[in-house]
């Protein structure tokens, strides 16, 4: 190519080779990003729309694709009359409304203490973080023993404190969800501590020094500096924690299988039951879309609330 362009008259523009460095870089750049991008499209985006299609059909996997029957909105109509759906939604909301603020609050308090009021910061960080990384099903087996209604340490402790008739925890329709919430809070605190600690380290020290010079008390500094400066952290935590709370599965699947009597059934576990135990692919897909919409709406609302505030 180069020799050809050299032969051209001086008045003509030199023809550049097609693969300029810039084009080469662009092509390689696209090739480098492509596997990840395509992987996500094929295993995340496509299935999302595939499940939208399935949600308008009835199919139990038998008979292949030909057996898929289009039923219009039937699944959604059924869903809005389905008591178990409402119950699992209600349970999920209770779980969200308790676990998210409680673990955030405890995480916040511990983070503030660990940040500035204790020695051995690394020790505390690690210890409180252990439940978050420990295998959930292994942790669940530990708690199912601890919560054993007649001989478990929890009820033994309650009885020794004078409670004659302690709850039957995982075996009781009134308390099973609470047992799960307790374990979830315990597992979630470490995550909140770590994120709040990261937020606390970004607050410039001179803000506190200036406030101290102005005679602000510890409490004033806390309310006027620490709390507002942690706003974005709290926002980030609320979104991630609320979204995660709608995905709760392991504890429920392992500890109660949604029982007793659906008292711990939650959205994802109900999808699992309908899809993989009853093989109602269409109905489970409709439930999946409800889950997706709920998470999308929650994210959007939290996002908006945050924009108004800051």
């Amino acid at each position: 190519m180069a020799s050809v362009s050299r032969d051209l008259g001086a008045g003509e523009t030199r023809r550049r080779p097609f693969w300029t460095n810039r084009r080469k870089e662009a092509a390689i750049g696209i090739a480098f990003a492509a596997p990840e991008f395509l992987g996500i499209v094929l295993l995340g985006v496509f299935p999302l729309f595939f499940s939208l299609y399935l949600s308008f059909t009835e199919w139990n996997l038998v008979g292949g694709l030909k057996a898929i029957r289009f039923v219009g909105l039937d699944n959604y109509v059924a869903l809005f009359q389905d008591k178990t759906f409402y119950l699992s939604l209600k349970n999920n909301l209770v779980y969200t409304i308790i676990t998210v603020p409680v673990s955030m609050f405890i995480g916040f308090v511990f983070a503030v203490l660990i940040h500035s009021k204790v020695y051995l910061r690394d020790y505390f960080k690690v210890v409180f973080f252990i439940p978050y990384i420990a295998t959930t099903v292994a942790v669940a087996t530990v708690f199912s023993a601890l919560f054993h209604p007649s001989s478990g340490p929890v009820n033994n402790l309650l009885m020794s404190l004078g409670i004659a008739d302690p709850p039957r925890w995982l075996g009781s329709t009134d308390f099973a969800l609470w047992a799960i919430i307790i374990v979830a809070v315990w597992q979630g605190i470490g995550y909140n501590i770590v994120i709040y600690l990261a937020g606390l380290t970004t607050i410039p020290e001179d803000l506190y020094e200036a406030a101290e010079i102005d005679g602000a008390s510890w409490l004033q500094r806390f309310y006027r500096i620490t709390l507002p400066m942690l706003g974005p952290t709290t926002f980030f935590l609320s979104i991630t924690a609320i979204v995660a709370s709608f995905k709760v599965f392991d504890l429920v699947a392992f500890l109660t299988e949604g029982g007793p009597n659906n008292s711990t059934n939650v959205l994802v576990y109900y999808i699992f039951e309908e899809g993989f135990q009853n093989f109602r692919m269409g109905y489970a897909s409709a439930l999946s879309w409800m889950l997706f919409l709920i998470i999308a709406v929650v994210t959007a609302v939290t996002w908006k609330a945050q924009k108004k505030q800051f």
Partner: protein, 276 residues
């Protein structure tokens, strides 16, 4: 915030008590795993066993009716392969989005991040069907395929690589290195800290995964440690000491890994490593 050392000592002491109470369920687990069955539920709790049965319990778990070592190996295999693939794909994409130029790059990156809004749990049913189409149902390959792409970890990679000075890349170009060599010999060695972070996080998440194996595996020979815990609970439902030993075996190696690499784990989580 200045404070007297006495105050700090007192708060430290109170927090130390809290931290021990907090971790007591796991201490109880280790203690129960070391006991004879008759002593496990004795109350008041005897934290240090009167009679030790650690070795017998250990033997029951590792050489008993549940092929625990096989489950262990399966988990290890899945975690290692998923981690390596995630490292490959996320570092390539991270490098590309951080350091290379191509049309619509930023748009593509934002689009990729927005896909993170799609909950994995909402696509279980269609993925189950797709995996069956591919004849991958009840294989490890299904879980490896679905575990190879992780948006938040790609995000971590890209953020880190944004911080690598462009001069290193330009210097590489001046020396006549192609983009592959720049990726492999300049960027990856400089990205060691984030590689450690992404690797350990992916390893932990894969090891701990219960939902994936529960839905996509059926053959007990392919079971992971999390499904193995289930088998244990079913078979040894009345012998807590053995079940606790199984729990200890599942958690402790992970714990050691975490304590060794705590910095990477905590920084990764704090930097946006949100579980998908």
């Amino acid at each position: 915030m200045r404070q007297g050392t006495t105050g700090k000592t007192i708060v430290t002491a109170i927090m130390a008590v809290f931290s021990i109470l907090f971790i007591s369920p796991l201490i109880w687990m280790v203690s129960a795993a070391s006991k004879f069955e008759k002593d496990v539920m004795a109350f008041p709790i005897r934290w240090i066993p009167r009679e030790w049965n650690f070795i017998e319990n250990f033997k029951t778990v590792w050489m008993g009716d549940v092929p625990f070592n096989l489950h262990y190996f399966n988990s290890l295999k899945l975690a290692v392969i998923s981690t390596l693939l995630t490292l490959l794909f996320s570092s390539m994409a991270g490098f590309s989005f951080a350091k290379l130029n191509f049309p619509f790059k930023n748009g593509a990156f934002i689009l990729l991040l927005s896909f993170f809004l799609i909950p994995n749990e909402a696509t279980l049913v269609p993925r189950f069907i797709m995996i069956r189409w591919l004849h991958l149902y009840d294989t490890h390959a299904s879980l490896i395929l679905m575990g190879a792409f992780t948006i938040p970890l790609t995000f971590l990679m890209r953020q880190f690589m944004m911080g690598i000075h462009q001069e290193y890349i330009e210097a590489g170009k001046m020396d006549g290195a192609g983009i592959f060599r720049i990726y492999w010999q300049i960027v990856l060695p400089m990205a060691k800290p984030i590689i450690a972070t992404v690797g350990i996080l992916k390893f932990l998440w894969t090891w701990n995964d219960y939902q994936g194996p529960l839905i996509f595996l059926m053959d007990p020979k392919l079971f992971t440690i999390t499904l193995g815990m289930q088998s244990f609970n079913d078979i040894y439902s009345t012998s807590y000491a053995v079940v606790m030993m199984a729990a200890v075996s599942a958690i402790i190696p992970l714990l050691i890994l975490f304590i060794l690499l705590q910095r990477q784990v905590i920084d990764g989580i704090a930097g946006g490593g949100v579980k998908g």
